[in-house]
């Protein structure tokens, strides 16, 4: 059931990119997140060393100001999301809890017209790629179905963002995707275990191991979970000089 939902959302992302006449990018995921959950705008901030670093994309000027404001003030949902490795769902920015947590950001964000703010970590376990931030003018919760969709879209953005950082420079974020839906089977223990094993086998950081695992599965036209299972059961080792996207 989760797979078909992911496929449907990916279809929307691909259609959005096609409508813009470009290759799929994180900006398309951001735009679909805004439209699918009927929000006012969104942004993606890339992280470095576990902290928010720079704004990658925004849907329009207010989103940009909300994103920049957090980086300038050094506080806000982006920082909290990366620190706690969990989403921040501020359904009502006027709630005293948020005024207390972000004494500078919360009032300023409300002045910019944000009533509710939802921020999702673009992370996989210990790997922290960035934050997807979204806002709406009026306060109010996210219905459960929209929350699920946004989590799936955040997974897609994470895969793309990591691909663009660690993937083959020529392929950019297309390395793991090439226009196809990313394998979003993020939640099998073997995939996470294999990622950890590859940091040692390949001598690379976890983010790169994550990308190399996917690139290998993609290049071999195999399911990610199957490749991960082979690595965990020690039937498969990836060679150190394995070129992402290249053959064995």
């Amino acid at each position: 059931m989760a797979d078909s939902r992911a496929a449907a959302l990916w279809g929307q992302v691909a259609a959005h990119a096609a409508g813009q006449g470009r290759k799929v990018s994180v900006a398309d995921v951001c735009a679909v997140a805004v439209s699918s959950a009927q929000l006012a705008g969104g942004w993606v901030v890339a992280a470095r060393g576990g902290d928010p670093d720079f704004v990658m994309c925004v849907t329009h000027p207010v989103s940009e100001r909300l994103a920049e404001l957090q980086l300038t003030l050094g506080e806000g949902p982006c920082h909290d999301v990366l620190a706690s490795a969990a989403p921040v769902l501020a359904a009502d920015l006027g709630d005293e809890e948020f005024a207390r947590r972000w004494p500078g950001f919360a009032p300023a964000a409300r002045q910019l017209g944000a009533g509710a703010l939802f921020a999702f970590p673009l992370i996989v376990g210990a790997i922290r790629a960035g934050v997807l931030g979204l806002y709406r003018g009026s306060p109010g919760p996210l219905p459960g179905r929209q929350l699920g969709d946004l989590l799936i879209l955040a997974d897609a953005a994470t895969v793309m963002l990591l691909g663009s950082v660690h993937g083959d420079a020529e392929d950019g974020d297309g390395a793991a995707l090439d226009g196809q839906a990313p394998d979003l089977a993020l939640h099998r223990a073997e995939i996470d275990q294999a990622t950890g094993m590859l940091t040692v086998q390949l001598g690379v950081p976890a983010g790169e191991a994550f990308v190399r695992l996917r690139a290998y599965a993609y290049a071999q036209d195999r399911r990610l979970a199957d490749v991960a299972g082979d690595i965990v059961s020690r039937r498969l080792r990836l060679p150190r000089d394995q070129n992402p996207g290249g053959g064995p």
Partner: protein
Amino acid sequence: MDTDLLSDTFVDLADTMVADFDVIDFLHVLTDRSVTLLAASAAGVMLADPRGELRVAAASSEEAGLLELFQLQNDQGPCLECFRTGRAVTATDLAGPAPRWPRFAEAATRAGFATVEALPMRLRDQVIGALNLFRADPGQFDPAELRIAQALADVATIGLLHERNVRRREAVSEQLQGALNSRVTIEQAKGKLAERLGIDMDRAFRMLRDYARNSNQHLTDVARDFVTAGTADFPPPARHQPNR
């Protein structure tokens, strides 16, 4: 029912919860205790992910056959039914003819289990997951045991949501996602350690957990520091700022 064991268990769990604790480590203790206390063969806590999956947060054993049984319950089985209805669900005599969940029954039988019980983890009107108990012997858990099992499931819920105030409804979702990501971090750390030392995942988990306990750190923090460290040496070189 061994009442000494029962009181020890609740004293231990309460002791953990009044201090600062790691959610996944806590849920592991809870599944271990469920096995001992209820004469079960295995136990696990599954949490509902709004993405549309039930995901394992902790299990009494990392044995692959058991984890497969949890995974399978995304399609069918007592855990899914328990999650959907919010009620305790019993599956007895899994090896018998015409089982209710054929694929689940077959996998459970293959793994050596005859009885499975799923108990809801409820918070107000929400079901956030389920505690699963597996037994090798056929036959029902008795009513007194089931009351204890439900109490353990409730303790799991409280433990999971303990860290932050849950006055805001959204805080529950935030907390669940945080716990699920902790589990991912721990899996990554297990993989790195298992590869480094040439050991199995179960052993790697125990090493990480023991090191966290002995050095008074959260299991998730130890796992994250190890995964992000530039070296695969374990224990990792000291650079401990227990941040969260």
